[in-house]
């Protein structure tokens, strides 16, 4: 009896993960993800999944309106974009770090935020995640106003992020880093934990399974016992993404994921980001300086300069914009 509930719970967990799967993704893709082994296998053959996800993307764009198909139905309110930011501003001691920032990101989009150093990109992330409170403007996530909420509330609403300078829990194991990310989704009370009641074992088992599943997606499952600080740089970046995904977000913010990587690691990272989007149906906003990466994976771009939006639109158009080139290279 007990065993059955465990399995049911595990299945619900995976289903929750799938609720954000790409709209209209083939049924079998959702099924393959149901067990960790299959998930790992799916990870090794990204082409199929990629194709599956790309189709609805195009369909959505062709129809000219946000997608609201069955998979998203559970938690999205239908016609709202995943992220809608209007007129966001903040100043520090008279300096307008971000000034009237707007952006609309549709579900499933891979969106890039670029701009020269000091343009205010990370400040935008800090505003979105509640590290700073905006002076003006609104932030809507899936149609819900989350302006001015605290960082942990915003994470619970569904925004997760990584950091420019990697911020892992360096003395915890790789597995535990991801399990901390699962904190708000798999619960038992502290007393149950101390007394080692059955609920402790049951939930811990679920957490281990879910965490291993996530780690295997990033090819980190073999290193699950390592101390996070002992991982090589590229894997630390991946672990940070895995940890963010563990919180089951609607929107993933990546702050310069390729910083400090060599070209090989960067192209591997591009694959990973693409794969995350397709496997988890994730909406992603990323800050990046590596134009090859931006041009390679982002569908849309916003260019920030001196805290203001210089231009935004489809990647190819934006990157050919004279103003963007001027902003980066000067007159």
């Amino acid at each position: 009896m007990a065993k059955k509930t465990t399995m049911d719970a595990a299945r619900t967990t995976v289903k929750a993960g799938n609720a954000t799967a790409p709209a209209g993704a083939p049924q079998n893709a959702a099924q393959t993800a149901r067990t960790p082994q299959n998930a790992a296998r799916a990870a090794q053959t990204p082409q199929n999944a990629a194709q599956a996800a790309r189709t609805p993307q195009n369909a959505g764009q062709a129809a000219g309106k946000p997608r609201n198909t069955q998979a998203a139905g559970a938690e999205s309110n239908g016609s709202f974009p995943t992220l809608e930011v209007r007129n966001l501003s903040i100043s520090f001691g008279g300096l307008k770090a971000v000034d009237g920032f707007n952006v609309v990101i549709e579900k499933g989009q891979l969106y890039g935020l670029i701009g020269p150093n000091g343009a205010g990109k990370t400040t935008v992330f800090n505003l979105l995640t509640g590290v700073y409170k905006p002076d003006t403007g609104t932030i809507h996530l899936d149609g819900k106003n989350i302006t001015g909420k605290k960082t942990i509330e915003i994470n619970q609403e569904g925004i997760a992020r990584t950091f420019q300078n990697i911020r892992l829990f360096k003395d915890l194991s790789v597995l535990d880093n991801v399990k901390v990310g699962l904190h708000n989704h798999h619960k038992y009370s502290t007393l149950e934990g101390i007394l080692r009641l059955p609920s402790f074992y049951k939930v811990e088992k679920e957490m281990n399974e879910r965490a291993m599943e996530l780690l295997s997606v990033f090819d980190l499952d073999k290193e699950c016992d390592y101390k996070a600080s002992n991982l090589p740089y590229g894997k630390q970046r991946k672990l940070e993404i895995a940890r963010a995904l563990a919180t089951d977000p609607k929107l993933l913010l990546l702050d310069e994921p390729a910083a400090g990587m060599n070209p090989n690691e960067t192209s591997e990272l591009m694959e990973t980001i693409r794969f995350v989007r397709e496997k988890f149906g994730m909406t992603i906003l990323l800050i990046e300086h590596d134009m090859k990466l931006v041009a390679g994976i982002c569908e849309k771009l916003t260019v920030l300069n001196f805290g203001q939006v210089l231009t935004q639109g489809d990647t190819s158009e934006v990157l050919n914009d004279r103003r963007v080139i001027t902003a980066y290279l000067g007159e």
Binding site: N155, R167, H183
Partner: protein, 353 residues
Amino acid sequence: MTKNKVRIQNAVTYGMVVLFWVVIQIMDRTGHLTSLFKGLLVPLCMYAILAVSLNLTVGILGELSLGHAGFMCLGAFSGAFLTNCLETAVPSMGLRFFMALILGAVVAGIFGLLIGIPVLRLKGDYLAIVTLAFGEIIKNLINVLYVGRDVNGFHFSMKDTTSLGMDKETGVVLIKGAQGITGTPRAATFTIGILLLLLTLFIVLNLIHSRAGRAIMSIRDNRIAAESIGINITKYKLMAFSISAALAGMAGVLYAHSLSTLQASSNNFGYNKSILILVFVVLGGLGNMRGSIIAAMLLTALPELLRGLNDYRMLIYAVVLIVMTIFNSSPKAIEIRSMVLSRIRGGAKKEVA
């Protein structure tokens, strides 16, 4: 896998404590224990509990606290007070002691929570000095506290016994300012001490290796990242701090029941005591509970074992402390150590070859 490794590590820690108990029992039965060492047994357990509980704050939560003795003081006085109050109502000394342990832990835990709310917003050395300040305030306040009881109930004063204004016939002074509490039954035994140490280990180790423990350690490792993945920083900081305080309070009750007179003197509960416990924690290794126990027991026993050297014993203690820390933590010492180790290993390999 890690889970099994953790289980083995924990089992070794528990086993070590139990083994220590068995060895002492055998030595006692066979008459190999000096009365001096016998007197040391309860303090050994007490310091081990204090070190493990402080390690929860310093090693696991990552906040430097210098006020641990203050929580111990709260526990000691509330526990001893209860034991004395219930002398007639609850004749069983064991039961009274048990109730005192619970009360002491609860009182210290509540104060840990109350102090933690404002204090845990501070960082690093500022937090250290404020916890030290709180510890001293607690000690000083208890030092001027007078409590008495007569037919009309309890009487409190911060001045002296006469200002309690008690009924002359039935009035009994329970807490007598700087003279503290006298006549607490000496109910604390080595076995009880060991049981409490095992209980402390059980709580702390199980906490660390659970959902809450991971949240606490994530705050230690990177507060900003922990917040970004939805960890409630205040909640878990307070949880660690107040559990740590409650366990210190329990150790205080144990202490109070091993003395005939309990005074809130600087010697018993001053900041020097907090620092002493911190020394155990740091030398035993941050986050390493087994290390805390070993360091607490060795360093508590050391001055007593050196008693033959009389005046020089504390001097030797100080030198040992300095040398051990440098040996443990200095980058150069670590380098030399690993060099020597690899040479030994290298030599061993050559011999095999």
